[in-house]
């Protein structure tokens, strides 16, 4: 057996290097085929959004709608209904911002900056996912009040979109200056201030929700739309590798990495 064993090295042919290289190229080629595309990446990100988020949002949506519908049925004044819509709309969408802000979790950022899909792409993916959900939710919300109360569709759209845009723009701006790691509290505080503002507006000048002021609301809507677009573009611009690279603080991990 020992003799036979000694004979083996002589019998085994030398590996064909050309074929070895050919096999390597084939594997590389096949691997390229399985490379994740940008679309696959965006779709893949849905898996990492906490499922409870959608459930809580839906429950809240139903609860608020039922409550407001009841109040409206009890003979609530029209301006009050509109002010309530303006107050409540941002709350419906604030749940998602915490999931969005998580990308900027201080200690995760360093890893996210070194992966194939850049931070900008990650942001874009999350924006697309949450944006799409928000779009449907907002459409449902507006349709619900239009059908349920036979109110003017245009006015409901105005009173929903203006606070929504203000919320989006404000939260994205705040996200850029958030260093504490308590973004959820900041977002909730901002939302409360925003809601309070619309309530104060309704109590101070009930006529502001009147048909005669529609044009002003439309003007504000355009401004807030621009604000929203600006805040998103700034957020994306800042997330680009070049913009982020030199913003990492030196030495300590107690400071926010990204600004």
């Amino acid at each position: 057996m020992k003799k036979e064993w000694k004979m083996y090295p002589g019998r085994i042919p030398e590996p064909d290097m050309a074929k070895k290289e050919q096999a390597r190229q084939k594997i590389l080629c096949e691997m390229q085929q399985y490379r994740m595309t940008d679309i696959q990446f965006i779709c893949g990100q849905i898996r990492f959004v906490r499922p409870y988020l959608w459930v809580v949002q839906m429950l809240f949506w139903l609860l608020v709608s039922a409550g407001m519908y009841r109040l409206q049925s009890d003979g609530m004044q029209e301006y009050r209904l509109y002010s309530l819509i303006a107050m409540v709309t941002p709350v419906l969408f604030v749940f998602q911002i915490e999931q969005f802000a998580k990308i900027y979790q201080q200690s995760m950022l360093e890893i996210e900056l070194t992966t194939r899909f850049s931070l900008k792409k990650l942001l874009l993916a999350r924006l697309l996912i949450f944006g799409t959900v928000d779009l449907f939710a907002l459409a449902g919300w507006i349709a619900f009040w239009h059908v349920g109360t036979e109110s003017d569709l245009w006015r409901i759209t105005l009173y929903s979109l203006v606070p929504f845009n203000l919320m989006v723009a404000g939260l994205f701006v705040l996200l850029r200056f958030e260093y504490s790691g308590h973004y959820s509290y900041i977002a909730i505080s901002y939302m409360a201030v925003l809601g309070g503002l619309f309530d104060v507006l309704a109590r101070w000048r009930p006529g502001i929700y009147g048909t005669e002021n529609e044009i002003w609301w439309f003007a504000v809507l355009l401004v807030t739309l621009l604000l929203g677009i600006w805040s998103v573009s700034v957020l994306l611009k800042c997330s680009m590798e070049k913009g982020v690279q030199n913003e990492i603080n030196f030495g300590t991990n107690n400071e926010m990495l990204w600004r």
Binding site: Y34, R35, M36, Q40, F41, G44, Q45, R47, F48, R50, K102, Q105, Q106, S107, M108, L109, E110, I111, E112, L113, T114, T115, R116, F117, S118, L122, E241, K242, V244, Q245, N246, I248, F250, G251, N253
Partner: protein, 291 residues
């Protein structure tokens, strides 16, 4: 496969963190040794493209890493010094998340996650939330995530922090196993972590590489400069005030001192074979004194 640093400098205002560094990394394990603030983390962040050099360049196979972008990041595996995680994520979920960011298709990601969690001994807790993990477990998870994309350049910043001795040995074996055909750069200030596995040791101080070579080559530089002396407490106090003491051990009424100095420190002093730890303490004696 070659990673080249050419006159790489990084300044933070007036402070120079990395000072005109010139070096080339090829396949193998490189151990960066240095005290806190030596510039190890800054250097690693620059290699990973998180920080851009103030001046100079970093090239991978003669291509600037900044211009390579996604193509370069695909080759990278990085474990930051302060490894972060999403506390409410399970270990497996976290790995899949990082795999998605690294662009690994889901099927391959699941297979690789399973393999790596087994490799780092976390397969039993794959479904447990990370917030319930001990420091060592989190660190092992960090090592696993860095290796998800089978990186050609593996950068590990203080990978053994928080690991117990058994885990350290396991880590060393793991790195030795994966080190072939890739560049592994690991920083630490624990000498034993790199002593056994690093092909090249780089000693960093004040943003510069003060010494580079194999363990044997580096240790050779302080041959004849390390002494051991057993003496009484009174003389020991005098020697402590005069020389850099590498180690001090009390034995009943006597004190055994290990001293690093150019000449014979005491009549009874005996020269001993230096170790990497001796070299480290010799090179960083000023730093440690300040500390």
């Amino acid at each position: 496969m070659k990673l080249t640093l050419e006159q790489t400098t990084k300044c933070y205002g007036d402070k120079i963190a990395v000072d005109h560094l010139n070096t080339t990394f090829e396949n193998g394990v490189y151990g960066l040794l240095g005290a806190n603030g030596a510039g190890k983390t800054t250097l690693m962040r620059m290699i990973c493209g998180i920080l851009s050099p103030t001046s100079g360049a970093i090239q991978y196979d003669e291509q600037d890493i900044t211009s390579m972008g996604e193509e370069y990041r695909e080759l990278l595996g990085y474990l930051p010094q302060d490894f972060g995680y999403y506390p409410e994520f399970e270990a497996k979920e976290f790995m899949l998340y990082i795999a998605a960011l690294k662009g690994i298709p889901p099927m391959m990601a699941r297979r690789k996650t399973k393999e790596l969690l087994e490799l780092v001994g976390l397969s039993q807790v794959a479904r447990k939330k990370i917030k319930t993990f001990s420091g060592g477990m989190k660190q092992r998870l960090g090592i696993a995530q860095a290796m998800l994309n089978d990186p050609k350049i593996l950068v590990l910043d203080e990978p053994t922090a928080g690991l117990d001795p058994k885990e350290r040995v396991r880590f060393r074996n793991l790195i030795s196993d994966v080190a072939s055909e890739r560049i592994v750069i690991l920083s630490t200030h624990i000498v034993s972590d790199v002593e056994y596995i690093a092909d090249q040791i780089m000693l960093m101080r004040g943003g510069c590489i003060v010494a580079i070579g194999t363990v044997e080559e580096l240790v050779e530089t302080i041959a004849g400069k390390v002494w051991e002396v057993v003496t009484d407490r009174c003389n020991a106090d005098a020697l402590c005030g005069k020389y850099d003491i590498i180690n001090l051990r009390h034995e009943q009424d006597m004190v055994e001192l290990r001293i690093a100095c150019d000449g014979k420190p005491d009549e009874d002093a005996q020269p001993v074979t230096p170790t990497l730890e001796d070299l480290y303490l010799y090179e960083f004696r000023e730093t440690t004194e300040v500390k």
